[in-house]
Symmetry: none
């Protein structure tokens, strides 16, 4: 099913380190190739509401094999995917979710981060992805 727990924990730890480095408090979720949760961490004091958002970002990124922020560009009023967020039990389509690929480019899972600005969420998610590169 793609990503291993060892890889997922490595990504979570890298994301936590980046989060601390930029002085934020994050919820971090990793799903596997089947979009099922593998690992999760909520930093002390991080927003409670981000618990669900981090998981939905990770699932959204895997559901469509794309960064959540890219999907969000298409879901605005008048856009081709307007209100896609109503599907799949709720999607999150702003930045902070990224697919995770193996060396061959196959998607093995995804990371979702929530707890700060979407710019910071994206930076921390990218740190998780980079840890497995």
């Amino acid at each position: 099913m793609g990503i291993t727990l060892e890889q997922a924990e490595k990504a979570v730890q890298a994301a936590k380190a980046k989060s601390a480095e930029i002085n934020t408090l994050m919820n971090i979720a990793i799903v596997d190739a089947g979009a099922n949760l593998v690992a999760f961490a909520r930093m002390d004091g991080a927003w409670l509401g981000s618990l669900d958002i981090a998981q939905k970002k990770a699932r959204t990124a895997r559901y469509f094999d794309a960064p959540t922020g890219e999907i969000g560009k298409l879901t605005q009023p008048g856009g081709p995917l307007y209100n896609i967020e109503h599907s799949n039990g709720g999607l999150i389509t702003f930045p902070g979710g990224l697919p995770i690929t193996d060396a061959s480019g196959t998607v093995i899972g995804a990371i979702g981060v929530s707890g700060s600005t979407v710019e910071n969420d994206h930076i921390v998610a990218q740190a998780g992805v980079d840890a497995l590169a």
Copy 2:
């Protein structure tokens, strides 16, 4: 309740063939006149998130006996059906869902397709409809 499984499978196979022809990977769902699922197929490697969207497109098209893309023109901010997507456990109102009618024009079901651009989704859904014409 309208469409038969034999008809539904014929529409699915036609949609799969069109999808392959235009080099896409689709989720294809057929519902009957009661808006209940009759047949479904997810092509290998198609987006996981489109599994739910294809079914919601088919249901949406039958719920209102209209192409989903036509409904979406009315659900934009300021439009008469703004945020109708919150009803019925989640609707999808961009293209890719089409009603299926019999020779007399009676709606016997609907097809929903998801997995590529909404233009491609619509083309593949139309191929499913045409297979039963």
Copy 3:
């Protein structure tokens, strides 16, 4: 993600044939290794309520890599898994769901069948499994 659409459709056709052979009308669902739907068919006149049950049986069988009927033996009042059905958005723990394995014994998906007695549901699910052996 395990089972292919080609394999799934083969299992569905075999289940349909067995269902006709024993004079029943079934809903048949196939999920992949990630417990996500791959293929579905509802025979004309089959119970509408079995549409959801067939899918839940398939997911339940994959969730625990076991026949649903075996799980049900443990979920009775006083049993060790009493009321496990409240998890995962609803499980079905009576017969009709079976894991599907490859030649090496790895679970690649599952089949769920609903529409008749649980004995018949199981027989038809087994026919689907056998078609891939």
Copy 4:
């Protein structure tokens, strides 16, 4: 809200070690005093259906500040809490969920474990609790 991420991760690692020691594959969830998820880990190959059950066990244990198995004794047919599992979006009331207390006896969170027999689930949950004693 009680337990820290550092404590939660310590409990998860202890539970993973005990799980490996007794040759099982577990899903392990930790919630805080607010019954909100703090940390989660799914061991490679652990049942997918246990993902949700581990989290529900942890929440159930915190909701009532009691071991899930003790609650389950009261939820049987004829019992005082019959079918309480219908509340709170689904409870799990068989063993594998335990409250976590601080040195003063105050409940600071809970652990939920799922992936084997309920006896093994309980043993692994206890190992998580003991790691924080």
